[in-house]
Symmetry: C2
Subunit: 246 residues, 2 copies
Amino acid sequence: MMRILIKIEYVGSNYHGWQKQANLPTIQGILEKTLSNFLKQNITLFGCGRTDAKVHAKSQYAHFDCESSFDFSRLPLAINNMLPKDIMIVSARQVSNDFHARFSAKKKIYRYYIYNNIVRSPLLNEFSLHVPVKLDIKKMKKACKMFVGEHNFTAFCTKREFEDRFFNVRKIYSLKMKKRKNLICFEICGNGFLYNMVRIIIGTILDVGKNKIETKQIKKMFVSKNRCEAGETLPPHGLILYDVIY
Amino acid sequence: MMRILIKIEYVGSNYHGWQKQANLPTIQGILEKTLSNFLKQNITLFGCGRTDAKVHAKSQYAHFDCESSFDFSRLPLAINNMLPKDIMIVSARQVSNDFHARFSAKKKIYRYYIYNNIVRSPLLNEFSLHVPVKLDIKKMKKACKMFVGEHNFTAFCTKREFEDRFFNVRKIYSLKMKKRKNLICFEICGNGFLYNMVRIIIGTILDVGKNKIETKQIKKMFVSKNRCEAGETLPPHGLILYDVIY
């Protein structure tokens, strides 16, 4: 048995997210089917994390176990013409048998793009959220700093029934915001992210930019752990899983 | 009668180019229909230039004449929800009656994107040409310089029956090439471009990068005026009409 780690890039627009679902097109579903056909054995992928429907990935990682004498460094060239154009295996390599795409990840980096202009941009439509109103960029940059460090992010996640509320402490190493012409790029790096956490954090910063809330209120949200105080969950298409550090 | 100049942004992937064609979706066709409906009169657009099928535009310009008391600065917000998501009017303003979107243009700027990596990039697929082979970037930068200045570009255009071969002199003000990770961006600025000229110029520079031809051969092409000596016409989807200067 050997364990293979693959790096995957995809445009999420046409998929119901990463995780396999019966009768719905998902990234994991398509990759598992293609890999199973190619390697002539049942392949199960363990992703570094689940991306939601319409979320993109520049560098998603997943591992699988198999029996094979194939030189896996050649996997991308061998298999990519069997994959749809919007999903691509960028690289593949053998890892040790105790490596796990999810649990071995030290840091994850996400980006969220906002196109801030009265008129929408057809060229950036698929990869950014259109925000037509004027934003207070200075205040937003201040708000970014509030999230850096170790915090309880209960107010910044969507509760899922099967999850425990007690382990919602995560560490954010950096949250940078860059504006170039009308395009705002947020880059957030952390040791892990709760469900919808990036989209809610950026939604809260956006509310600061719209002068709906004050920067200092963010501190209180960490304490109150009240989801209702934070900003809305922004749409998925502005989000991209940018990189994972092992 | 008043003359209105509009600036348009579009993703060309789903269209048979700018120019109106019977029974085929084109940018001009869709814009004329929508403007005619909105202004309740027949509108004919005069574009700054024709973009081919699948070519994109960040800033295409076109003018039209009409009788109206409408405040045209409000046109984008009034009309954009009637347009498909991949075509957008960015701005509109009244110009003098002797202004012409095509003939008043002083400079045009095009960009061409090449994604240079063994594996394709799903995220950049729609807006760049995938080139999997190693390129000699230094030589390509040298080749770019050869095109700057006033030259006869007969070797670098596709002949169309109705056109005259004698007026193929154009001036290129600049041709810059920037590489950032695997993405190469060419930006070319000139006083006008012949049919397929940008795609053939970049195709020739690409041949230099592949060591198929030498930089010094480019000089001879200006003299020989022989289309067969220049590089191939690159695919349209890497090309974008970036800006027009009036």
